[in-house]
């Protein structure tokens, strides 16, 4: 396991960097927010990403993808996160693409993967039902009726839930709240009768929805993975998602830190640059160290995913914990070091704070993963 990028991965990262800077600077995100854009991502930007082949990075070549691995998509998300680029790439190119590739039947793969690659459909993963991420607590019921399952319940905080065409939904076919057994994943068309989307307005101005299922009928051929073992299947998809979002959070943190560092070198008070004050220098140096640890953790987790390591779960929790804590620190310090302008809406740095706190909640907070890391480590 080498913790450096290959030449191809570095090339992909550079491409993504140029793309984000040229096509999707922070002003682009700001205008989507200010104009109350209905999906909060830009269709043209997304089709450019599709043309670059990004939604197919985790998809095998036989379905039109490039099978370039988690590290590949990870570095793209990292670079796009530096300019807060909103897009369906995470929910579709990671969660949907990986979930279907890894756990779909041949039929499902044939049906959906080429459409993901060509940008025809976007996907979303519907897991959570309460304010804190915890898949095994899912209560939504899936009752068998002939060859169908009837889904009843409510999913909350579904990323891209308001725009996705295909939903991957976690429901309970048996067992009680808290049991990891008895869960099953279903592929559900978002236009199914009985399905109601309620768009959410979150602090980071991105696309989320709560989704109500009023006796939504799903054919049994739409089970993703196996009946009753959806708890394990979803955990596998989530682990890849956690690593990918950690990479995104690393990009957020790097960018907020860079912006802050520039500010320390420009802003004068008491006749000198504020970056010359030791009180600020040491805090900046500490952030630098935390960022270095985060880079290593994220990189090692991406490698673990690509190498099918038996350490994948632990590495995923490691990455999400470290990325969450670092982004938390950096986003707070960025505001404080910017002083008054840091708390104005006109200045971009506040976007990073808002994005940080939402991302920290996605697929488990640092606390959730610290606990999970202990469980997985045998103490």
């Amino acid at each position: 396991m080498k913790l450096v990028l290959s030449e191809e991965e570095q090339f992909l990262k550079d491409t993504a960097k140029n793309f984000a800077e040229e096509r999707s600077p922070i002003s682009h995100f700001r205008s989507l927010r200010d104009n109350n854009d209905p999906v909060l991502w830009d269709k043209d930007i997304w089709s450019e990403m599709v043309n670059l082949g990004w939604p197919g990075i985790l998809i095998p070549e036989e379905y039109g993808g490039s099978n370039f691995g988690v590290t590949g998509i990870g570095v793209i998300l990292q670079e796009c996160a530096k300019t807060l680029t909103p897009s369906p790439l995470f929910a579709t190119g990671v969660l949907g693409a990986y979930g279907l590739t890894q756990h779909g039947t041949d039929e499902q793969k044939k049906n959906y993967l080429p459409k993901i690659v060509s940008g025809k459909i976007t996907t979303a993963l519907a897991i959570d039902e309460s304010s804190h991420h915890n898949p095994s607590e899912a209560l939504m019921s899936a009752k068998k009726e002939g060859s169908n399952f009837i889904l009843t319940g409510k999913k909350i905080f579904v990323i891209d839930g308001d725009s996705a065409d295909l939903l991957i939904v976690l429901a309970r076919t048996s067992g009680d709240k808290g049991d990891n057994a008895g869960l099953t994943l279903f592929l559900v068309d978002s236009k199914s009768p009985g399905l109601e989307k309620i768009k959410l307005d979150m602090a980071d101005s991105r696309n989320y929805a709560n989704i109500v299922f009023n006796e939504v009928k799903v054919d049994e051929s739409n089970i993703l993975g196996d009946l009753e073992t959806g708890g394990e299947t979803v955990d596998d998809i989530l682990d890849i998602g956690r690593i990918a979002i950690s990479s995104e959070m690393l990009g957020n943190a790097e960018s907020a830190f860079e912006t802050t560092l520039d500010y320390l070198k420009q802003r004068k008070q008491f006749g000198v640059l504020i970056g010359s004050f030791q009180a600020l220098q040491h805090r900046a140096a500490e952030m630098f160290c935390e960022l270095e640890l985060t880079k290593s953790s994220v990189m090692a987790a991406m490698r673990a995913a690509d190498e099918n390591s038996n350490e994948l779960q632990r590495m995923s929790s490691l990455a999400k914990t470290v990325a969450g804590e670092t982004l938390h620190l950096v986003s707070n310090e960025a505001i404080q070091m910017h002083g008054g302008i840091g708390v104005t809406d006109e200045y971009d740095i506040g976007f990073f704070l808002k994005r940080a706190r939402v991302a920290e909640q996605i697929f488990g907070s640092s606390k959730f993963h610290t606990e999970r890391y202990a469980n997985l480590s045998g103490f």
Binding site: L3, L293, A300, V322, E371, Y373, A374
Partner: protein, 397 residues
């Protein structure tokens, strides 16, 4: 067979013949273990420690990458990897602990004359001469460049007067590499020279320092009209600061390894300690507060280990990385010991007597000793300054 395969075969069979039984896996536990530092006055409880050092020293394998003409192993990077692997497979002990190897030899190779290299490096490699480091002074800690120990030009020789402090093992070392002031009128960084001094020279004396943790290897070292031949000057006169800084990088890289804990299951592991004192339930530490704190700590440790690995994979970078590792490694080590002491409760602050076992008493001392980790080799605050200025490019006031 490729050259490397051939090298592996040869190495394997050489180790097989030459690594004594008590120096590898499966050693008889009743044989006393030496901490081998070599030197003129080295004493060995186990004669095989000496034998192992002599054999490895003869091969030059205590510094395997150094050229054979200086007594090194003359091995390529790939060969060194093979040597390390083969030593690892049989659990071979490192034959020699040495400030000469870790700190002095790398700068001698870079700044020394041919004659100086030939004089000193082979003896470092063979462990014949034990070195100590004369940097800090009572008045010059973090502000090392203000050092006052002076070396005056008296014709053939320098006359050295002054005092060093925190010289590890000065009472056991044969030679000292010291920073001395040779240019009293020059700006402080430009009047320092790097000088090698034989500890047997008349006028050199040492006195051990007792720490909060008890006995320590640290000493005060005094120079009272000590005459040193001019050929012992390394590099140019008054250009010692550059060498001093370079050497500190080697030292920091070395100290930062302290941050990595002993493996799980060893007695000095915070998880084992917490399980021992709180008990366990389904394998979990039976105290939620400590458990979560320990998990956070273990995650940081894991991330730090990965960062060391990444630095290695990237081919090792500049001085600032060494500063980060020194800072993080030592702060982490302190935190680790604080956690072990806290998880041990009353036993974690035991000092002496039969009511406590040795593990507890040793932990107390070890915990106190870690307080020095973030002071020696440049304080944590100095490392933060280095990172701010050299990596982040923040302005000076």
């Amino acid at each position: 067979m490729s050259n490397l395969e051939k090298f592996r075969e040869e190495t394997k069979s050489w180790l097989d013949k030459n690594c004594p039984a008590s120096m590898r896996n499966g050693a008889d536990p009743s044989i006393p273990v030496d901490e081998v530092w070599g030197g003129r006055n080295a004493e060995y409880k186990n004669p095989e420690s000496k034998l192992w050092l002599e054999r490895m020293g003869e091969k030059g394998w205590t510094m395997p990458t150094v050229a054979k003409e200086y007594g090194g192993g003359g091995l390529s990077k790939d060969e060194v990897k093979i040597l390390n692997e083969e030593m690892f497979f049989i659990g071979a002990k490192q034959p020699l602990l040495s400030f000469g190897i870790w700190m002095l030899a790398p700068v001698l190779l870079e700044y020394g004359t041919e004659e100086q290299k030939k004089q000193h490096i082979p003896k470092i490699i063979k462990g014949e001469i034990r070195w100590c480091q004369g940097y800090s002074e009572p008045g010059s800690g973090s502000d090392l460049a203000s050092l006052a120990t002076k070396a005056e030009d008296i014709g053939e020789k320098y006359l050295v007067n002054g005092q060093k402090v925190w010289t590890s093992y000065a009472d056991k070392a044969d030679w000292i590499f010291a920073l001395v002031r040779t240019g009293p009128k020059e700006p402080k960084h430009d009047g320092i020279s790097f000088l090698l001094i034989d500890m047997e020279t008349k006028g050199v004396s040492t006195k051990p320092i007792t720490l909060i943790s008890g006995k320590s290897p640290f000493c005060e070292t005094f120079f009272d009209n000590v005459e040193v031949p001019k050929k012992n000057l390394i590099g140019e006169l008054n250009a010692g600061w550059t060498i001093a800084k370079k050497l500190l990088q080697h030292e920091r890289a070395f100290i930062s390894n302290f941050g990595l804990a002993a493996g799980m299951g060893s007695k000095r592991d915070v998880i084992s300690i917490a399980k021992k004192h709180f008990g366990e339930e389904n394998g979990k530490i039976k105290n939620g507060f400590y458990r979560s704190e320990i998990s956070s700590h273990k995650i940081k440790e894991h991330a730090f280990g990965l960062t060391l690995k990444r630095a290695g994979d990237e081919g090792g970078k500049a001085s600032a990385t060494a500063s980060m590792f020194k800072l993080y490694g030592t702060e982490h080590n302190k935190k680790r010991h604080e956690l072990m002491v806290a998880a041990s409760g009353i036993n974690g602050v035991a000092w002496d007597g039969d009511e406590f076992d040795d593990d507890d008493k040793n932990l107390t001392k070890a915990w106190l000793r870690t307080k020095g980790n973030s002071l020696e080799g440049g304080t944590s605050e100095v490392q933060l300054n280095v990172i701010s200025k050299r990596v982040l490019g923040l302005p000076s006031q």
